[in-house]
Amino acid sequence: MEHNPDSSESLATADVDTATSLCLLAGKIMLQSGAETSRVEDTMTRMAASLGIPLSHSYVTPTGIIFQAGSEASSKLIRIAERTTDLQKVTAVNSVSRRLTNGTIQAAEAKQELLGIDRAAHAFPVWVLIAAASIASASFTIMFQGDWRDLIPSFISGGIGYSAVVYFHRLVKVKFFAELFAAFLVGLVSMLLVQSGIGAQLDKIIIGSVMPLVPGLLITNAVRDLMAGHLVSGLSRGAEAFLTAFAIGTGIAVLFIFF
């Protein structure tokens, strides 16, 4: 990016402030919903450009965004504490920024839409998510060469595992422990089902049921961040993914120590 110190001075300070807060809001929603770092930076830069700030700088990590509109303006910082996966919101913000860049909507409308997206609840109710987790678990058991008899047990324990991670995460704010407990519960339920004669292969049932907890999105994001040159983000996301995998492994392992 070439430097041109005069470019942002054509805008009034108030305009720059509005544009900055708009960009930060978009970036915050995207980052909280699980977008890659490069996408967040790209979206913020594009939005700023369409709002009359051709030179903006952003530094995005999974835990915070630093944004500066032009070289004269002061920089703003937003801290991101909680991250979930909500690709619906990423798509929605993406579409707002696209329309803003096209000129289809103005800054005020964009702000209203973004506030709406920020406030919106998850696109799917929790029971749909649990049902999806159950179906995914059952499917994975079959994909990993499981027996057809293991379909129902993995459906049950996968659903219980996902419900547990949702419930425990509300109870304990530490994600690591929520995942550990959930994995332990998955193992326990699968073991009970196998011992009562409903399931056949314990291993396949556990592997299938644990899949909804596996940090697939985190791993993908970590790699994409690393490759895009966002080394700090890539490494920290990689660490998050590793912690999750470790929690799941430990949860199951503890079960085998006990029984």
Binding site: T91, N94, S139, M143, P212, V223, A253, F256
Partner: protein
């Protein structure tokens, strides 16, 4: 084989619900996951899981690039759906279990394989991205 394809479609589509992806992307995500699992199943018996994961994720990367352009949605929606069947969750679990049962030799072996597969998935994704950049520059 047919059962495997149906099941992988369902699994990938269910996963996109878990990630709260937009409803209109469910079908495409299911297709991406199905294709990735199909390629994996085709290549795996001949050249092993690592190369199979590499091929599958490279194809997933290209397909999700296409879908992202065509439907004007973030690429990540499709690539995640395609990657999910390849993630070596089973191997990671197996190696953890061997660790618990004090069979460290087997555990390290399995862990190394899981690590290699994750690397292969990553390489495949990068490969498709690089290809895309080369094609874009070439124009």
């Amino acid at each position: 084989m047919a059962a495997q394809l149906v099941v992988s479609f369902i699994a990938s589509a269910a996963f996109t619900i878990l990630f709260n992806a937009p409803k209109r992307s469910l079908l495409q995500c299911g297709l991406t996951g199905m294709l990735s699992w199909f390629i994996y199943l085709m290549v795996q018996p001949r050249s092993g899981p690592v190369l199979a994961s590499l091929c599958a994720s490279a194809v997933v990367g290209m397909l999700s690039l296409f879908f992202a352009r065509f439907y004007k949605m973030p690429l990540i929606i499709f690539s995640v759906a395609g990657i999910i069947p390849l993630v070596p969750g089973g191997l990671a679990y197996d190696s953890m279990r061997q660790f618990v049962e004090n069979d460290y030799t087997a555990a390290v072996q399995l862990a190394a394989e899981a690590f290699l597969i994750s690397g292969a998935i990553a390489m495949g994704l990068i490969l498709s991205e690089v290809l895309n950049q080369v094609l874009r520059r070439g124009k």
